[in-house]
Symmetry: C4
Subunit: 211 residues, 4 copies
């Protein structure tokens, strides 16, 4: 392992700004932790008719499905982020911005998540179609942002901890691109059969969690 | 104490992915801190009738009881988490997921907490029964996730800081299992007498805090 | 400075559980940061009458006063916490719980803060009285929790970084007790003249910030 | 690089309280991460008319524009904060307070952001004018707080990591002051043509992100 502190100098030789990855990890942990925890806000109900709590809760099943899907999604993101940064010693500005693009996905995720839940609870099939397609397209973009991140990182060997990481980055680029294609296909399927889209939203992160 | 930095290498000898526990601690701290702080959102009132603020507030006593119960619950979780990780040098993927299962409990907790408060404020006895049973079952699952975490950890001596930790893990497995049984019994009691369930929700975390 | 890492061992000689203060700092930072940031939620307005945005905003002046008071309060808490922990090497369970009591204050603070704002915007003088007295009593308890924290810390020289810290703890105990008395007096004053209570809520933290 | 740990002593020679910048970084990361993540709350919709989800979403375009502007704003703040603190070894009380002033901007930002969105969705041109001018003035104050921070830091060479940082601080003071002037001009422009104000709110942070 190279010495982290010397790389912490903001002006590394060559004039390229290179910094320890530590604060980027910290900031990412905080953003992912908050994104994960804010998901619970969508579960809350403010009011209900007397003696109807049970049926009110049962009616909200799409909210629970959406919560579980999003919770797994962010958890998988955190674990992937952890493994990626375990191979990085330091970051530069392009890596920071690629990382922020990834975080943007986690920040935005509760929005399509609650839309999908709302569409299945209150909406017609047209609404479900809109919500499912929007979710799938945003998820495809989020997965694409990982591919971009790994492309940016793969071009910067001076930031790596281990010289043999190149095959890991290539593997991750393939995996992320495949995921983006998967979500794009889900957008098409979900346009015709929204329920299948919802099921796939649940399936993908659980699959990635255990695969 | 073993050297943390060498274990930080994502490819430890043996091909098993082992990483420093540091980021897992950070992420857990952030999730628990946010779960703790979000509890205040349930206390807020958006409006009230003129000159009726005092009676509005007094009417909300179940919300305060639920807040105190949940605040102690998350605080006890944090202290237990702290003591558990003080004995861990590093984590692997199964430990990370077992840890995420624990955090999931803290993230979800505000949901049954506010349901119980709402049921005692606005609901019939049927609603209170539903809310109390749901809370107790989720709390039982949460406590069970600790038992699973300690079982996973107990099987991985290469992650421990001290070789003599095995009796600690065994003690914690027993304690968590007993807690899960306690909450399951509370679900049964709360089905018949919801008020006793509410009292036990307050009692358990305070007991664990000082025991 | 004593060696932090050796004290990190959860079983220090003597059987007393002593741990590095690092995670307690992290957790406290996270809680205080979230408490600070959640204050903005009270500023938000969800709707307004067309062409009436300006008067709607001006009508909300008590919300801004309450926001500034609470923002300074939490900021002062963070700075005090920082200076206190800069003198601590490690913590044990009583210190952790005294710290959690302090954090509880920061977590709860948005509740009386928004109540005071609401009472001055929508309520009668009776409501303002209720809100101001409640705020002052909770603020007195919060300040008292600092006094308790410093009493707990003052009795544990084995946790300190510097042996000469005893006069600092004594000074802080006096300062916190004086603050608690100040807020208790504010409760009495605010019962008769709520507006003066509101002004004092703004004054105290700004005074502590610069004094 | 000077030794961080010796500067961590709260009583540095000379009686001036000087502390490691580490906790200030942590706290700032947490506040910025939360401010960033809370922005998503404004995207959420709680209800809509059946079969009208798509038009409801399209109608909310100012909310998305405001979200993107604020997301870039906080991201740029975090990167700037990162680069500034990479040059600091330690902090004293004035630096801490200058830093809190910067964080205050990030905390408050969601308020004018949602006001602008609301004004373009529900309001007359008068309301848009009010919201845009308020946003621009608050953004000018936020940018000014950076200028103040760099002035405070520039006067404290004993806190720097590298002796050659002085030209960096001077450059940053000029850049922040220029930004504050830019937002003040935007307030004037936005008073006459609110739409141009909205466009500039989007332009500035994206420009700073890539410039």
């Amino acid at each position: 392992m190279r010495n982290r502190h010397h790389l912490g100098h903001p002006n590394a030789p060559g004039g390229d700004l290179v910094m320890s990855a530590h604060r980027t990890e910290l900031f990412s942990d905080a953003v992912l932790a908050i994104a994960l925890t804010l998901l619970v806000l969508d579960l809350s109900i403010r009011t209900f008719q007397a003696s109807r709590l049970q049926s009110t809760l049962l009616h909200l099943w799409p909210t629970y499905v959406a919560f579980i899907a999003a919770f797994f999604y962010v958890s998988v993101m955190w674990i992937n982020h952890h493994f990626a940064f375990a191979r990085l010693n330091s970051v530069d500005k392009p890596v920071m911005w690629a990382n922020i693009a990834i975080l943007c996905g986690a920040v935005v995720l509760p929005f399509p998540t609650s839309l999908v839940a709302l569409a299945f609870e209150q909406g017609s099939q047209t609404d479900q179609r809109v919500a499912v397609v929007l979710y799938a397209l945003l998820a495809a973009l989020m997965t694409l942002s990982w591919a971009i991140f790994f492309v940016v990182v793969a071009r910067r060997p001076h930031l790596w901890k281990h010289e043999d990481s190149v095959h890991v980055w290539k593997h991750e680029i393939r995996r992320s691109t495949a995921g983006a294609v998967g979500y794009a296909l889900t957008a098409i399927i979900g346009f015709f059969v929204p329920e299948v889209g919802l099921a796939l939203f649940l399936f993908f992160p659980i699959y990635y969690a255990f695969a």
